[in-house]
Amino acid sequence: MTARNIAMTIDQVAVRFGGLVAISDMSFTVGEGEIVSLIGPNGAGKTTAFNVMTGFLTPSAGRVTYRNTALAGLKPHEIADLGLIRTFQRTSVFPNDTVYDNLLIGLHRQGRVRLLDAILGLPGARASERKLRQRASELLEWVGLERRAHDAAGSLSYGEQRLVGVALALAAEPSMLLLDEPVSGMNASETHRFVELIRSIRDRGITILLVEHDMPMVMTVSDRIVVLNYGRIIAEGTPDVIRNDPAVIEAYLGHGAGRA
């Protein structure tokens, strides 16, 4: 891992809600172009960690740095401007809009034209609009939702909505993507396709941090895994290391998981 440039540093981050310690003293790094997974039992603090990294939550202590910019005090949309984009566990689409329009909303960061230009319909604004439409179609093709382009996003199956969520995040042109349990609710073949999608995202140079419960999927796709339990990091390493780590086996995978 030393060869890679570091994209994100999480340095001694702690989050407390009143007396409850959600995360204590968490430190790890994510390298550029790496696929890192954050795993742990329910309530281990994974989503809380995500919320801290994307500005939805202010940590009680510690700091998060992305590409040498400290994220403390930045609003979520400002963090998005740094190229750090997340998906959500539950709320993942704009339900009343078509899938295509969802992506156009997601392309917000690309389509910033002056308000007056847009109102007057000046050539610059129109060209930008054409480019956005083109880009939206490309994204739909990338995640494999071309056929659903004109359906309301809220009417899609759960698995398809997750894909819309990922496409939305990709629309924001991330340099690093944070995926919060993307394959929960997907069947085996959907999950398999999703793994391909994650790889194709990484192949375009986008760093990926993944929170996921689906162990076989995590083991297949990750370069490195960070294991949380009760808000603490208990292990960190490649899938092979994690699979054989006694602390992980005991705390998370349970007895007899050595064959996993």
């Binding site: 979520p76 984009i85 917000h108 308000l115 847009a118």
Partner: protein
């Protein structure tokens, strides 16, 4: 299809003064038109960002007073024995100033309330309207208070190469209101279909997700509030120069409620909604007046409103669009099935 309906509607509206000679009805149409512009501006906030401004009439009233005072002039005392004297400017300057100052008020109200939003925005806007009404009522030196500002001049258009055209007749004022309404409609339509309008829609549907893809909530909502308030200010200016007398009653809460009714019944979040709802509820009192006692008129008014919302709960325009849209999509679905069947048969 949509374009054809729009062209027919505009042509029909433009032809009205050519066959409608009754000044009473034409007057009703002009005031209704002015309120339709107000309703369109309210719809920009309520229908496209989901924020309910229950003090929207404040921006309308501010537009009316700014425009009236600009064209009438004033002479008021300031602290320290100074006097601020403004000599009358042409009404068209008042119209422009009304837009600018109403827009500025929208900016400050938005800035104050959009950090918290929702119910807080409703309360801030109600309070704002009430404060402005009290100022208009009590700052007698400037506004004449309950005595009203009178003799407000009609709008005069400076025509190049000709003398000014003062809009005195009902027909002229009708066309003025129609043109301003069309401009406001186009402006809102452009805005809503632009990248900026998508940001508003995203915020309304799923704020957390919208923020995560980089949409700035406060900025987006504040811009919507500024444009909405500016259009309401334009409507207020038209009102002042057409009625030619305004008093603090223009800020009455019932006027905001009327605009909300126009938007909700016509269909919030649809461009044509406030126009349809506005024409119905603007002209309904006129239609009821000859046939009913005054008490019964309001009961009938409420009855019509309830009936519309009962039959078409999402408002007239969206409900009808959906009904016709569904029929069309069923037709295309049938067509594609037929195509698929033909395709399946062919290889055999």
């Amino acid at each position: 299809m949509k374009a054809i309906i729009t062209i027919i509607a505009v042509a029909a509206l433009a032809s009205v003064p050519l066959w409608l000679r009754d000044p009473y009805l034409l007057n009703a149409l002009i005031t209704t038109g002015i309120f339709v512009i107000g309703a369109m501006s309210l719809n920009l906030l309520l229908g496209f960002t989901g924020q309910l401004s229950l003090g929207h009439i404040a921006f309308f009233g501010i537009g009316a007073y700014v425009s009236a005072l600009t064209s009438l002039g004033f002479d008021i005392g300031l602290p320290g024995g100074l006097r601020l004297v403004h000599t009358p400017w042409p009404p068209i300057a008042g119209f422009v100033l009304a837009i600018v100052i109403a827009g500025l008020c929208g900016y400050f109200v938005g800035l104050l309330s959009f950090r918290v939003r929702g119910a807080y925005f409703v309360i801030v806007t109600i309070s704002f309207a009430e404060v402005v009404r009290l100022v208009a009522l009590n700052w007698v030196e400037l506004t004449q208070g309950p005595l009203a500002l009178t003799n407000i001049p009609s709008i005069a258009l400076p025509l190049p190469g000709l003398s000014e055209l003062t809009l005195r007749t009902k027909m002229q004022n009708y066309y003025l209101v129609l043109v301003v309404a069309l401009i406001a409609y186009l402006l809102i339509a452009r805005l809503v279909h632009s990248h900026f309008g998508r940001a508003m829609r995203g915020l309304m549907e799923n704020e957390t997700l919208a923020v995560s893809v980089g949409i700035d909530v406060t900025r987006t909502l504040t811009i919507a509030a500024v444009i909405s308030a500016a259009i309401a200010g334009a409507a207020g200016s038209l009102y002042a120069h057409y009625i030619r007398i305004i008093d603090p009653e223009v800020f009455a809460f019932i006027n905001t409620v009327t605009m909300v009714i126009m938007v909700i019944s016509g269909g919030k979040g649809s461009l044509a909604g406030p126009v349809v709802g506005g024409l119905i509820f603007g002209l309904l009192p006129v239609a009821l007046r000859p046939v009913m006692a005054p008490e019964a008129q309001w009961i009938a008014y409420g009855g019509v409103l309830i009936a519309i919302l009962f039959v078409l709960p999402r408002g007239i325009v969206p409900s009808l669009a959906q009904r016709f849209g569904r029929r069309r999509s069923r037709a295309t679905a049938l067509a594609s099935v037929t195509l698929a069947e033909t395709a399946a048969k062919e290889p055999a």
